[in-house]
C-alpha cells in the first residue's frame, strides 16, 4: 500500500474541529447527558429494584460504569459517520483543506483524533455524573479517560471504515441497527455475559465495547487484575493495526 503522508498539520485540522465544538459544547454535552441518564433512571433505578444483584453488585452500580463506555462509543460513532460524511460530502470541507498544504491523510487522522476526543470527553462526563451519584468506589477511576481515548480511536476507525465503504447517508442507520445496537446490548453493559452460550462469549472478545466495559467497570470498582492490561493492549493494538485502512478508504472516496 502507498506511503502514509501525515504531518503536524493534523493539529491545525483538529483545532478547527475543536473551535467549532467549543462554540456549542454546552448544548452538545447536555444532549449526550440525556440518554445515559434515562438509562440510569429507568433501568438502574426502576428496573434495578426488581433485579437481583449482578456479580455481587446492586444493579445500578453494575450498570453505571457500562454506560460510561457505551456513551463514549456512541458519541464517537455518530461523529465519524454522520459528522464525517456531512463534512466530506455536503460541506466539501475536505476538498477545501487539501487545497492547502494539508494532506488527505492529515484530514482523516484529524477526524479520527476528533472521534477519540469525543469518546474521552463524553465518557468522562458520564463518569463524573456517576461519581456524583456515588457509584464510583475507587481512585483507579482516574485511569478511565486514557482508556476511553484508546477505545475512542478504535471506535473512530471502525465507524470511518463504514463511512468509507458505504458512503451513503441513508445507510448509516444500518450501521447503528446492525452493528452498534448489538454491540451495545451484548457487550456486558446490561448484564454479565457469563450466562450466555459459549459462542457468544467468545465472539464478545471481538467487540471493542466488551473490553472497554470490562476496563471501565473494573477501574471504577477498583477490581484490578493483570487481565485488564491485556485487554488494554488488545484495544491499543487493534487501533494501531486498523489505522491505515480508513486512511486508504477515505482517500479513495475523496480523491479522484
Amino acid at each position: 500500500m502507498r506511503r502514509i503522508d501525515i504531518s503536524p498539520l493534523v493539529w491545525q485540522v483538529l483545532r478547527r474541529h475543536l473551535i467549532i465544538f467549543g462554540r456549542n459544547w454546552k448544548v452538545n454535552i447536555s444532549f449526550n447527558f440525556f440518554e445515559p441518564l434515562l438509562y440510569i433512571a429507568a433501568l438502574g433505578m426502576g428496573l434495578g429494584a426488581y433485579v437481583k444483584p449482578m456479580e455481587g453488585l446492586p444493579y445500578l452500580n453494575f450498570l453505571a460504569p457500562g454506560l460510561v463506555a457505551s456513551s463514549a462509543m456512541f458519541a464517537t460513532s455518530y461523529e465519524c459517520t454522520y459528522g464525517t460524511f456531512v463534512r466530506m460530502e455536503f460541506q466539501k470541507t475536505f476538498q477545501a483543506m487539501v487545497a492547502t498544504p494539508v494532506s488527505m491523510d492529515d484530514v482523516i487522522t484529524a477526524e479520527i483524533l476528533y472521534g477519540a476526543f469525543k469518546s474521552t470527553l463524553y465518557g468522562s462526563v458520564i463518569l463524573v455524573v456517576i461519581l456524583v451519584l456515588g457509584l464510583v468506589s475507587s481512585p483507579w477511576a482516574l485511569l478511565v479517560p486514557p482508556v476511553l481515548a484508546v477505545a475512542g480511536l478504535l471506535f473512530a476507525e471502525l465507524s470511518m471504515l463504514w463511512t468509507g465503504l458505504v458512503p451513503n447517508i441513508d445507510n448509516f442507520n444500518y450501521f447503528f441497527s446492525l452493528i452498534m445496537t448489538p454491540l451495545f446490548l451484548f457487550s456486558g453493559v446490561f448484564f454479565p455475559l457469563s450466562g450466555l452460550p459459549r459462542l457468544v462469549r467468545e465472539a464478545a472478545w471481538l467487540s471493542p465495547l466488551y473490553h472497554l466495559v470490562n476496563l471501565v467497570r473494573s477501574l471504577v470498582l477498583g477490581q484490578i487484575n493483570p487481565g485488564l492490561a491485556w485487554e488494554f493492549i488488545w484495544l491499543l493494538a487493534l487501533a494501531v493495526a486498523i489505522f491505515p485502512l480508513p486512511l486508504y478508504l477515505m482517500r479513495r472516496l475523496v480523491i479522484k
Binding site: 478547527r16 460541506q91 476538498q95 477545501a96 492547502t100
Partner: protein, 353 residues
C-alpha cells in the same frame, strides 16, 4: 524549461476508471500572465486544474508547477498556491473572518499575521462589514468573493480560479473581474477556467480552447480571432426562397420583425443552439448566397439555420452586397466577432454556458 514558466504540462493525461477526461495536453503558463482554459461542459477544465493544485493524481505525462513536480512535492506546491474551486467550499460552521483565519492556520501562518491579512483581504473584496456574518447568509457573489479572498490568504504566487464568476449576475461578475485585474497588476499569475467568452476576452492574456479533453487552439484572444474569423461576422438567417423556412419559427422570430433594419451592434453575445450541421451541404438559398458573395468572404459556417459569414475585408461592404440580393432574409446582422465564433468554427458546436 525557462524560469518564467510557472506551469509546464507535457502530454498531461487524466483517466477516471479508464475513461479519458484529459488527453495528452501540452501547455505552459508564464509568470505574471492570466492564462485561461475555455471550453464547454465536460471539456476537462476542472480535471486539468485539479491536477495543477495536486488534488487529482496525474495518470500520465508530466506536470510541474512553480518548478516542482506535482507528484513529488504537493505540499510545497500547495503552500504557494491559491485555489478557488468550481463549487464554493467555504466552511459553513465558521463565520466570515474565521473562515480566513482557520484556513490561514493550514498554511501555518501565525495568528497575528493571519488576522491582519484577513482584514486586508476582506476590505479588498468589500466584505469588511460582514466579518461576523454566517457564511450561508452571504449572497452568491459575496461567497465567491470570500472564496477568492480565502485563496489569497497565503500570498500565493499563483492563483487558480475554476469558473470564478459562473452563476453571478453581470454586476457581481464585473466586480470580480476588476479585483482579478488588480491582482494581476500586483504580479500574481492567474489561471482561470471559464465558459464565458467575454470573461476570457476581458481577463486572459493567453488562453487555450479545450473540448473533449483536448486543446484545440492556443493564443491571445485577439490573435485567435484574427487567425480564425477576422474582426466581424455577418449572420444570415433563412430566406423565403429557401426550403427550410418555417421549420424552426421560434428561433428567428424576434429578428423577423425588424429584418433588414436591425442595428449591426444590437445583438449581444449569446448562446447559439448549434447542431452538427457544419458539414452538411448547404441547401439552395445558402448555396446561392455563397456563390454571390464568395469573393467578399474569407470563410463561412453553418450554425443551425443560420449562415455565419466571415468578411475578407469590410463587413459593411458584405452587408450591402447581401442587401442587394433579390432575396428576403429573416435575419441579417453585422456584429463584432467573438471567441464564440472561434469556438464554433473549431468544434462545429456551441459553447453552452
Amino acid at each position: 524549461m525557462t524560469e518564467k514558466d510557472i506551469i509546464v504540462a507535457e502530454n498531461l493525461t487524466k483517466e477516471y476508471n479508464g475513461k479519458t477526461a484529459v488527453n495528452g495536453i501540452n501547455f505552459r503558463v508564464r509568470a505574471r500572465e492570466c492564462f485561461g482554459f475555455l471550453g464547454p461542459n465536460g471539456a476537462g477544465k476542472t480535471t486539468t486544474v485539479n491536477m495543477i493544485y495536486c488534488f487529482s493524481p496525474v495518470t500520465a505525462g508530466r506536470l510541474t508547477v512553480l518548478g516542482l513536480d506535482v507528484r513529488e512535492h504537493p505540499r510545497e506546491i500547495k503552500s504557494r498556491l491559491g485555489v478557488v474551486p468550481q463549487e464554493n467550499n467555504l466552511d459553513p460552521d465558521l463565520r466570515v473572518l474565521q473562515n480566513l483565519l482557520v484556513y490561514a492556520s493550514y498554511f501555518r501562518i501565525p495568528a497575528a499575521v493571519a488576522r491582519e491579512r484577513a482584514m486586508e483581504l476582506l476590505a479588498f473584496f468589500d466584505l469588511d462589514d460582514r466579518t461576523q456574518e454566517k457564511v450561508d447568509r452571504l449572497s452568491g457573489g459575496m461567497k465567491r468573493r470570500l472564496t477568492i479572498a480565502r485563496a489569497l490568504i497565503n500570498n500565493p504566487a499563483l492563483v487558480i480560479l475554476d469558473e470564478p464568476t459562473t452563476g453571478l449576475d453581470p454586476q457581481a461578475r464585473h466586480l470580480v473581474w476588476q479585483r482579478l485585474r488588480r491582482l494581476k497588476e500586483r504580479g500574481v499569475t492567474l489561471v482561470l477556467t471559464t465558459h464565458y467568452l467575454e470573461e476570457a476576452g476581458q481577463l486572459c492574456d493567453r488562453l487555450v480552447i479545450m473540448d473533449r479533453g483536448e486543446i484545440l487552439e492556443e493564443g491571445g484572444p485577439g490573435e485567435l480571432l484574427a487567425k480564425h474569423i477576422g474582426r466581424e461576422v455577418v449572420e444570415v438567417g433563412g430566406s423565403d426562397t429557401g426550403n427550410r423556412i418555417g421549420a424552426n419559427p421560434g428561433q428567428n422570430g424576434p429578428a423577423m420583425a425588424s429584418g433588414r433594419d436591425e442595428k449591426a451592434t444590437a445583438l449581444p453575445a449569446r448562446t447559439i443552439e448549434a447542431r452538427n450541421e457544419k458539414h452538411q451541404p448547404p441547401s439552395d438559398w445558402e448555396t446561392l448566397v455563397l456563390s454571390r458573395v464568395n469573393h467578399l468572404l474569407r470563410g463561412h459556417l453553418m450554425v443551425g439555420d443560420n449562415l455565419f459569414l466571415f468578411p475578407r475585408e469590410s463587413g459593411q461592404e458584405l452587408l450591402q452586397a447581401l442587401q442587394a440580393q433579390p432575396v428576403h432574409f429573416f435575419h441579417l446582422l453585422l456584429r463584432p466577432a467573438t471567441l464564440e465564433d472561434v469556438f464554433l468554427k473549431l468544434t462545429g458546436r456551441g459553447l453552452t454556458a
